[in-house]
């Protein structure tokens, strides 16, 4: 496992990747990718048991990106952990790329299942976790969901199923950045109170600052140690985190930075004089 300091350094590179790749693509979803940088970096570099150069290793933990539009952050942590060359990130959304606008398991090894239509990932994680239990194995299923995504009814079906079958090898992570395309989540269609809702569905709820790597490390650890019921990490995050002009602006959900915005973003991430 990487040190906390090293994880924070990787987070900077991941943020830079996200703005670079969406800028090069001319489209994509930077906001909800940036909010999940610490969660994904900590997961791929400090928590999950996986082998980036052996993507079909059966014993690996599985990660399911239910909020498929946040694939820039997934592609970045995959590239930086060794699944494919970092340079390939700039092919995002280009015709012929393996890095589809929403992740496709048929083009990119390491993507467990294709996603992009919201609300489906937790059901899949549950199914995998159930198979794992039947196979008497102890690997885990991680699933990242958006907060707006919780408006999909299927998510609540899956929340019931995981608790009903006591799938304690499932760890859901909710990216609670409070914004969705049309604006504030609570204005568009309220989901609060999240903690009470998940608890009343018989989940173990862990709350954390999702943009704090140390908190996320301990949250994942607590989830792993929880037995008898599934765990959810409700992580409070800032949409567009790390790029001042993107932070807490719903408009950056699905818009790519132009060249000037990219330079400004990179300056903020690394500081003007450093590598950009």
């Amino acid at each position: 496992m990487e040190s906390l300091e090293r994880l924070k350094e990787i987070c900077k590179d991941v943020r830079a990747d996200i703005v670079r790749m969406t800028s090069a693509a001319g489209s994509g979803h930077p906001g909800g990718s940036l909010s999940a940088v610490e969660a994904m970096t900590v997961l791929f570099f400090g928590v999950m048991n996986h082998r980036p150069t052996e993507t079909d290793w059966p014993e690996r933990d599985r990660f399911f990106l239910s909020k498929g539009h946040a694939c820039p952050v997934l592609y970045s942590v995959m590239a930086r952990s060794g699944y494919f060359p970092v340079e390939e990130l700039l092919t995002l959304r280009k015709c012929g790329t393996r890095l589809q606008g929403h992740p496709s398991c048929k083009t990119l090894p390491g993507i467990e299942v294709s996603s992009g239509s919201l609300g489906q990932g937790l059901s899949i994680a549950n199914g995998f976790a159930l198979a794992t239990r039947i196979n008497q194995k102890d690997y885990r299923a991680y699933c990242l969901l958006g907060d707006g995504e919780l408006q999909e009814g299927q998510v609540w079906e899956a929340i019931m199923t995981a608790a009903h079958y006591k799938l304690d090898n499932v760890c859901a992570v909710v990216d609670y950045n409070g914004l969705q395309i049309d604006g504030d989540v609570e204005t568009v269609m309220g989901i609060a109170p999240l903690k009470q809702k998940w608890e009343s569905f018989n989940w173990h709820v862990i709350e954390a600052d999702g943009n704090d790597a140390a908190q996320m490390l301990s949250a994942y650890k607590e989830a792993k140690q929880t037995r008898g019921c599934p765990s959810v990490i409700i992580m409070k995050t800032i949409k567009g985190k790390g790029i001042s002009f993107m932070e807490n602006v719903a408009g950056w959900h699905g818009k790519a930075p132009n060249r000037a915005e990219l330079q400004k973003a990179l300056d903020e991430i690394y500081g003007k004089e450093n590598k950009s």
């Binding site: 398991c105 299942v113 294709s114 199914g127 995998f128 159930l130 039947i134 299927q154 079906e157 019931m160």
Partner: protein, 313 residues
Amino acid sequence: MSVKMLPTRDGYGYGLLELGAANPDVLVLDADLAKSTRSDWFAAKYPDRFFDIGIAEQDMIGTAAGLSLGGKIPFATTYGVFVAGRAWDQIRTTVCYSDLNVKIAGAHGGISAGGDGATHQALEDIALMRVLPNMRVLVPCDAIEARKATVAAGNVQGPCFLRFAREATPVFTEEGDYFEIGTANVLKSGIDVSIIATGPIVYEALLAHEQLASDGISARVINMHTIKPLDEAAILAAARETGAIVTAEEAQIYGGLGGAVAEVLVRHCPIPVEMVGIADTFLECGTPEELAVKYGLTAKDIVKAVKKVMARK
């Protein structure tokens, strides 16, 4: 003529038991309809490999997808109208786009849920499923073929949709009859016209064959148990050798077998076609027999269509 009657859903139940005994990785899911779909037979024998997901079709498909990623062969089971409609996006985006080894069983297909009325009659399931890349669509004609189709689906890699019926219908195929996904069975040879049918209505096509024979018309009868991949060779051979085709199905003609056959013919061998099936309408409640008469799904209707198509030759 006395003939044994069984619903095709029984064939599904037997097929699951056969698969369950042969392969411990076969699992069955249901959405609170296990008794109706016959998945409860599997549940009784293999309780550790049966999972009720409750009334949550979308979650059932996603759970099945995850199970398949864990090396299992899940059969997600409920009424066809619910699974093909309500969970279509899950079937499209999760199962078919990812090409997962998930089997989907749609029970109470066609008019067999008669008394329940239009909400429960699966008439669009064939159209909805056959438009999906990577999907296979199987519509067995009787309980024996239903068992074979279930076993075949379990032994092939990739997504499959199986359609079964509620009502007992004639069992007219034999255990020893050849069954292969994607290969149509020619039940009667004929030279004047071809009847291509799918599901229990194949039996009506056989009755029509007899009536036509007494009128001096030699009708080929083809059991198109696989809608996808469609046996284009059998369709084109029928077109070239008999010059006219009637399709027959218990489903919407638009997008159903009628549409599928027409797509092949217009590209390769345009000949006159008539279609027996549901003509762009919702039905109503009634016994399957009453509905078959009222909406034109009987042997008599097939005979009428044959005479019409032959007049167009």
